[in-house]
C-alpha cells in the first residue's frame, strides 16, 4: 500500500532515536571531567524508590554546607563540586557509580550515603583505590568495628548499632525497674540489621535488668505492608513491652495498624527509629507515650545550635532535617575543616587530619558540645543519643533522657572483645 504521508511513524521514531543518541553523546556520555579546578566530591546514594527520602535529605544537608563554603571563597578560590548519583540501593550499582567517580570524574573524596549492603560494596572499591571515603548512613557496626573490613581511608560519621543498643537497653532497664516490664516481645525487619539490632538490645537489656523474659518475636519482611500477624501475636501474648527496630514506612505501617487494636494501651512500645520527623509526621494521630530514641528532633540536644541548624535547614527546604541529614552535615563539616587545615586534597593528609579529631557540633555531647572521630576505628562518638516519649504535636518528643557515653563506650569495648574484634 502506498503511504499517504511523506514520513511514516517508523521514520519519525528513527529520527527521534538518532537525535536522542546525538544529544546523549554530546552531553552526558561518557561521564568525564567538567571543571578541572573544583574539589570534586562523589556521593553515591539512593534517590529513587521507597527510601528516596534518604538521598534527598543527604543531598540537602550537603548542598547547605557546600553552598556556604563556596560563597565564602572556597579553598583558595577552589569550590566544592558535588556529584550526586543514584545507585537504586543496588550494591553492584553503588560499586560501579563509585568506580566511575574515581576513574572518570576524578573525585577528590567520596561521601558514601548508601544503606548498609551497598556501603560494604563501596568500602571494597575505595579500599582498592585508596580514595578518602566518609560513610554517613550505614549503621551496621561491623563496617568500622571489624578489623578485616576496616581500611585506613574510610571514616564513619553515622550512628552505630552497638551504640544505640547500649543506649536503648540502659533507658529501657530504668523503666523495667520502675514499671516492672518483665515480659517483652520484639518486632524487627527480617534482615541482618533487624536481627542484629534486636539481639544486641536484648543482650544488653539482660545486663542492665536480668530476669527480663522474651515471650515472642516477630520478623516481618522488609517493606511488608501488613503487620496483622505480629499484632495479633502481641494481643495474644500481652507483653509488658515491645522492642522494635522497624524503620521508615514499615514502622509507620506497624504503628498505624497496631493503634487499631489498642496494642499500646497494654504494651509499651520502645521503637528505636521512631523519633525522626519524616516517620512521626507520617503516622496518623501519633499516640502519646511511645518510647523512642531521638534519631533527629529539634528538641534534642536541647541547645540553641541544634535549633539553629533545624531552622536553617527548614527555611531552605521547607522540611525538617532527618537523622541522615545531621550525619551528613557533620561529615561535610569535618571534610571542609580538613581541607582548610591541610590546604590540600591529598587523601593521606586529609585522613590524618580527620583521625582522632574533636569538633564542636550541634549534635555533640562531648566536652564543650563536641563530637569526635575516634582514632582507633575512625568512627564517630559522643553524638547525641536521647530517649523520650512521644506527644502528638511539636516538639513530638518529651521527657528526653540523655544516654551516658561512658556506659556506651565501656559496654561497647566488652562487646568488641567478645566478638574478637578488639
Amino acid at each position: 500500500m502506498k503511504k499517504l504521508n511523506k514520513y511514516s511513524r517508523r521514520d519519525i521514531l528513527k529520527t527521534s532515536a538518532s537525535t536522542a543518541s546525538v544529544f546523549a553523546l554530546s552531553t552526558g556520555f561518557p561521564t568525564i571531567l567538567k571543571a578541572e579546578n573544583n574539589i570534586k566530591i562523589g556521593v553515591p546514594t539512593i534517590l529513587s524508590g521507597r527510601v528516596a527520602q534518604l538521598g534527598i535529605s543527604v543531598s540537602n544537608a550537603l548542598n547547605m554546607a557546600v553552598d556556604n563554603f563556596n560563597k565564602s571563597g572556597g579553598l583558595d578560590g577552589r569550590n566544592i563540586e558535588l556529584i550526586i548519583r543514584d545507585s537504586r540501593a543496588k550494591p553492584d550499582e553503588a560499586a560501579r557509580v563509585c568506580r566511575n567517580f574515581i576513574n572518570s570524574d576524578k573525585v577528590d573524596a567520596i561521601i558514601n550515603a548508601e544503606a548498609s549492603g551497598a556501603s560494604f560494596a563501596v568500602q571494597e572499591v575505595i579500599r582498592e583505590s585508596g580514595t578518602l571515603c566518609l560513610h554517613t548512613v550505614s549503621e551496621t557496626t561491623s563496617l568500622t568495628a571489624d578489623p578485616s573490613i576496616r581500611t585506613w581511608n574510610a571514616f564513619r560519621f553515622s550512628r552505630q548499632g552497638i551504640h544505640d543498643a547500649v543506649g536503648s537497653a540502659e533507658y529501657a532497664a530504668k523503666l523495667v525497674k520502675e514499671k516492672g516490664l518483665k515480659k517483652w516481645m520484639s518486632i524487627g525487619p527480617d534482615y541482618a540489621y533487624g536481627r542484629d539490632s534486636t539481639k544486641t538490645f536484648f543482650d544488653m537489656l539482660q545486663k542492665f535488668a536480668p530476669g527480663v523474659e522474651i515471650v515472642g518475636q516477630g520478623w516481618p519482611k522488609l517493606f511488608q505492608p501488613d503487620y496483622t500477624e505480629v499484632i495479633t501475636q502481641i494481643v495474644r501474648e500481652k507483653p509488658d513491652a515491645i522492642y522494635s527496630c522497624l524503620w521508615g514506612g514499615d514502622l509507620v505501617s506497624f504503628v498505624n495498624q497496631a493503634i487499631l487494636y489498642d496494642t499500646f494501651k497494654n504494651s509499651e512500645l520502645f521503637a528505636i527509629n521512631l523519633a525522626d520527623y519524616t516517620t512521626m509526621s507520617a503516622i496518623k494521630n501519633l499516640p502519646k507515650g511511645l518510647h523512642s530514641a531521638t534519631r533527629y528532633v529539634a528538641a534534642w540536644p536541647n541547645t540553641q545550635d541544634n535549633r539553629d541548624y533545624d531552622k536553617a535547614y527548614t527555611d531552605l527546604y521547607g522540611d525538617h532535617p532527618t537523622n541522615w541529614s545531621w550525619e551528613t552535615s557533620i561529615a561535610i563539616d569535618y571534610l571542609i575543616n580538613a581541607l582548610k587545615e591541610t590546604g590540600s586534597t591529598d587523601n593521606k593528609k586529609l585522613a590524618e587530619a580527620l583521625k582522632g579529631k574533636t569538633r564542636k557540633s550541634f549534635m555533640g555531647v562531648g566536652e564543650g558540645n563536641s563530637v569526635t572521630i575516634r582514632n582507633n576505628d575512625q568512627t564517630l562518638v559522643d553524638y547525641s543519643i536521647g530517649w523520650g516519649t512521644t506527644i502528638p504535636n511539636d516538639p513530638f518528643v518529651k521527657d528526653i533522657q540523655s544516654v551516658d557515653w561512658n556506659t556506651i563506650k565501656e559496654l561497647e569495648k566488652e562487646w568488641l572483645i567478645n566478638k574478637g574484634w578488639l
Binding site: G28, S104, A121
Partner: protein, 324 residues
C-alpha cells in the same frame, strides 16, 4: 578454508583475537578508566545475556531465574578466594576459583534443570523463578558463610598468576575480555553445531525432532546446564570486578536484566544479547549520570525498540543489511 561457513572455528578464533587486540589498542588510545569499566561490564553482562539467550532464543524457553547461576558463580569465587586454600594454591587461586565457580553453577543448573525442563511455557518460567528465590533465601539465611543480606564482606585477594595481576586495571581489562571472547567463540561453535540446530528444531516444533528420534529432554537439559555454567562464569568475573558478591545478584530483578538486554539487542542474532548489553550499559551510565528516573528512561527505550523496531537492534540491522 571456507570463510563463509557459519561454524568456521579458525575464522571465529581469528576474529575473536582481532577484536581482543583492537580493544587492547583502544585501551591505550582512550585511557579513560570509566570507558574501560563500561567495556568490561558489557562483556560480563553480555556473557550473562548470551547464556540466557541459549534458552530463550534457541530453545524457546523463557527462564525467569537465571540470576541464580550468576550469583552461584559469584559466591563460589568469592568464598573460595576468602578461604585458606588461597594460601596453599597462591598463583593458581584465581584460575581454580573460576573453574570452581563454573563447576558449581553447572551442578546447580543440573539439579534445577532436571526438574524444570519437564515443564514448558509459563510453568517452566515460574519454576525457574521459584528455584532462584530459594537460592536467594539460602544466601540470606547462611549469614555466617555468605554474609546474609550484606553480601561477602572484607574483600578477597587476587594473587597474580602466569604474570597476570588482576589487581592492575589493564590486566583485569585484558583478562576479562579475553575470557569472554573465548567463551563466545566456543558458544558460537555450539550454536552452529548439529546440537544447536537440534535446539532450534525443538523450539520450532518439539514433536518433529522427537519423531525423528531426538531425545528432547536430554537436549534441553544440556542446554540448561551450559546456560547456567556460562552465567556462573559471568558471575565470577563480576565478583572479581566488584571484589564481593551480593544477594541482590540472586534476586528476581537481576534475572530481568539479561531479558532487557536480549530485548534491546535481539534474540535471533548470535551477538544480539552482547549488543543489548552494550546499549544497557551505555544507558545505565548516561541515565544515572544525568537523571534519577532510571526506570522511566529504560522503559521508554524498550518501548521504542518494541513498538518502533519490533525487534532488537542487531536483529533489525541484520534484516536491513540482508534486504540490501
Amino acid at each position: 578454508m571456507n570463510l563463509l561457513k557459519k561454524d568456521n572455528f579458525q575464522r571465529d578464533v581469528f576474529l575473536g583475537l582481532l577484536v581482543w587486540f583492537m580493544l587492547i589498542i583502544f585501551y591505550y588510545i582512550l585511557p579513560d578508566p570509566g570507558i574501560h569499566d563500561i567495556i568490561q561490564k558489557v562483556f560480563i553482562l553480555g556473557l550473562f545475556a548470551m547464556s540466557l539467550n541459549i534458552l530463550i532464543g534457541y530453545l524457546g524457553l523463557i527462564a525467569f531465574g537465571h540470576a541464580a547461576f550468576f550469583a552461584s558463580g559469584a559466591y563460589t569465587l568469592g568464598l573460595f578466594l576468602q578461604s585458606d586454600f588461597v594460601l596453599n594454591l597462591a598463583g593458581f587461586s584465581i584460575p581454580v576459583a573460576i573453574v570452581l565457580a563454573v563447576l558449581v553453577s553447572s551442578i546447580l543448573a543440573t539439579l534445577i534443570g532436571v526438574i524444570c525442563i519437564r515443564l514448558k511455557d509459563i510453568y517452566f518460567s515460574f519454576l525457574t523463578l521459584a528455584f532462584q528465590m530459594l537460592i536467594y533465601s539460602i544466601i540470606l539465611a547462611l549469614v555466617n558463610i555468605t554474609g546474609g543480606d550484606q553480601g561477602l564482606m572484607g574483600g578477597f585477594p587476587k594473587p597474580p598468576f602466569l604474570g597476570i595481576d588482576l589487581g592492575k586495571p589493564f590486566d583485569f581489562y585484558a583478562f576479562t575480555i579475553f575470557i569472554s571472547i573465548i567463551t563466545i567463540v566456543l558458544l558460537r561453535q555450539l550454536i552452529e553445531s548439529p546440537f544447536g540446530y537440534g535446539l532450534r528444531m525443538i523450539r520450532d516444533n518439539s514433536e518433529r525432532p522427537a519423531a525423528l528420534g531426538f531425545n528432547n529432554q536430554k537436549h534441553k537439559l544440556i542446554a540448561f546446564i551450559i546456560a547456567g555454567s556460562i552465567a556462573g562464569l559471568a558471575g565470577s568475573l563480576q565478583a572479581l570486578l566488584d571484589v564481593g558478591a551480593y544477594p541482590e545478584w540472586a534476586f528476581w530483578s537481576k534475572s530481568a536484566e539479561p531479558l532487557f538486554m536480549i530485548l534491546l539487542g535481539g534474540m535471533h542474532s548470535f551477538l544480539g544479547p552482547l549488543m543489548g548489553a552494550l546499549i544497557f550499559e551505555i544507558l545505565n551510565d548516561f541515565v544515572t549520570a544525568n537523571t534519577r528516573y532510571y526506570g522511566l528512561v529504560l522503559g521508554l527505550v524498550i518501548l521504542c525498540f518494541v513498538l518502533g523496531l519490533k525487534k532488537g537492534l542487531l536483529d533489525w540491522l541484520l534484516i536491513k543489511l540482508n534486504r540490501k
